[in-house]
Symmetry: C2
Subunit: 306 residues, 2 copies
């Protein structure tokens, strides 16, 4: 059995590619760690055209249902992938859950979290340190928490957390709030629960069995301060899930796949990519979904031309 | 009053751009002929991720509601547009409904129909000849109709019409059905109501007050045949709505705006474009929506850099 296309990843880009590829009657198979990608971790999404204010989990459920209704097969739990050009016209895809052969590949593996790399951080992962606000915010009802990182994701996390926590420190390395969403910045400034700490970085995480305090250091005077907190939500950026592609397709200095944005083609014929794993400047659900469709249609044209 | 951005067009690309631009708190204004663009004419849409099987009119209503909830102002009824670079950092937009000044422009004017250019066709426009199947199909219940053009749009039209008409001729200039959607092609082949006429072109449209027959000519032997029909649905392609941009931004040989597909930038700084009016290879709703978001985010970066 040789597939027409194997789609790696089941976030918005991979699922949109699956919708298009399946309707084109390609023999496809979706391999993914989980379904939804980072979209599931967004709390409320207000910029997916046609679905104002949808919750991240709801949106992913709708995406997933759409794809399943079309009869697309998704294999979850994939953690290790390697791609081997097996012949002139096909690729081998080797995973922790079997090996597959395919004529084309659509990569939509998205991006993952950058981990907090300070004294004590590793010890408290899952013991007060969380990388998923949407998953864990309700566990911190009535507690004091800190959000590390005040970019778009950190701002979103702080707003989610103020609905549960008694107080939210937002630790920002810059001297003011940055980012594209002015509304959420106003919401942060107007909240009595959120305390913005500018020009600061985390120096240490302390605790016994669980996190109990955080030490931060000012960029202005290098002074350190310790604050009592029971939870830390880390939002310091992300890294593209592209390690398995080194030496196979061209990546940029951030590790993102360099694509032709008109078609999703990578530097390797037969391999296409879409979504947050690519060098698309803006990582947005609607953009990933659109580019997933482009990649599937381009893969279809590629297969027809063989 | 100088706008940050004027969005021309209110189809999926323009409305998605409006969602992003408004959430970025840009001073925007949407100018359009109507709301929805060609999406409103699609019957059932099954490839907009998260909304399987939505009707075109429903989808446009959801899009429109989303944008209106955010407080975006849309001016409809715009038919004539000219753009005049009025100063180094702004543009004048002159329309049949007023003149406006703006720092940037997002063009999402989509595409329009190519008209049938044969003997008798002009006389019967609106008198049996239709360019909008979704609008007019129910008017032809129990009647015999022809669809001219058997590309994706013609195939979709034939499938819609078989739900109403007693018989549907599908006139195809090729020797078999082409296009990207295998499912719809199977539906056509399996329908007892649809008769596919391959290798043929329309030669003449006849009638009295209304259309009563159509003459087609075979590409194989040049023979002409006349068939009795009461309606003709024309699906022979489209032309980008870009005439007003000649001499302002670079267009390709089809008249489509040449864009940088990473950002939606055109050849003119400050003017961005997205959707079916651009040289994006695939004209799809989800792709237009994704690229509309890209264009708004790129316009925002452009405005910040001024």
């Amino acid at each position: 059995m040789i597939y027409d296309s194997i789609i790696l990843g089941a976030g918005p880009a991979g699922l949109s590619a699956a919708v298009y590829a399946k309707r084109l009657k390609l023999k496809i198979f979706v391999l993914s760690r989980d379904v939804g990608g980072q979209a599931i971790e967004a709390y409320k999404i207000d910029n997916y055209l046609g679905m104002p204010g949808v919750l991240g989990v709801e949106l992913v459920e709708k995406f997933s249902q759409h794809v399943k209704n079309l009869g697309v097969e998704i294999k979850e739990g994939i953690k290790e992938i390697s791609i081997l050009p097996s012949s002139q016209n096909s690729f081998g895809v080797k995973t922790n859950s079997g090996e597959f052969e395919t004529k084309s590949i659509i990569i939509a593996t998205g991006k993952g979290y950058r981990h907090l790399d300070v004294l004590g951080a590793e010890k408290f992962e899952g013991k007060g340190i969380s990388y998923c606000t949407t998953c864990d915010a309700p566990l911190f009802s009535g507690k004091i928490v800190a959000v590390v990182g005040a970019g778009d994701a950190g701002q979103d996390a702080a707003c989610q957390l103020k609905e549960y926590a008694s107080k939210v420190y937002l630790i920002n390395k810059y001297d003011n709030l940055r980012g594209d969403d002015q509304r959420i910045q106003d919401e942060i400034r107007n909240s009595e629960k959120i305390e913005l700490i500018n020009n600061a970085k985390v120096a240490e995480v302390k605790g016994d069995k669980f996190v109990s305090s955080l030490v931060y250091q000012s960029f202005k005077n290098n002074e350190q301060k310790e604050i009592a907190i029971q939870g830390i939500f880390v939002e310091i950026g992300s890294v593209p899930n592209s390690d398995f592609l080194r030496n196979l397709v061209d990546l940029n200095e951030k590790g993102e796949i360099i694509i032709d944005h008109k078609t999703g083609a990578t530097s390797k014929p037969g391999i296409f990519a879409a979504g947050d794993v690519t060098d698309v400047p803006e990582k947005q659900i609607i953009i990933a979904a659109g580019d997933g469709a482009k990649a599937a249609l381009a893969a279809y044209q590629y297969l027809k031309s063989k």
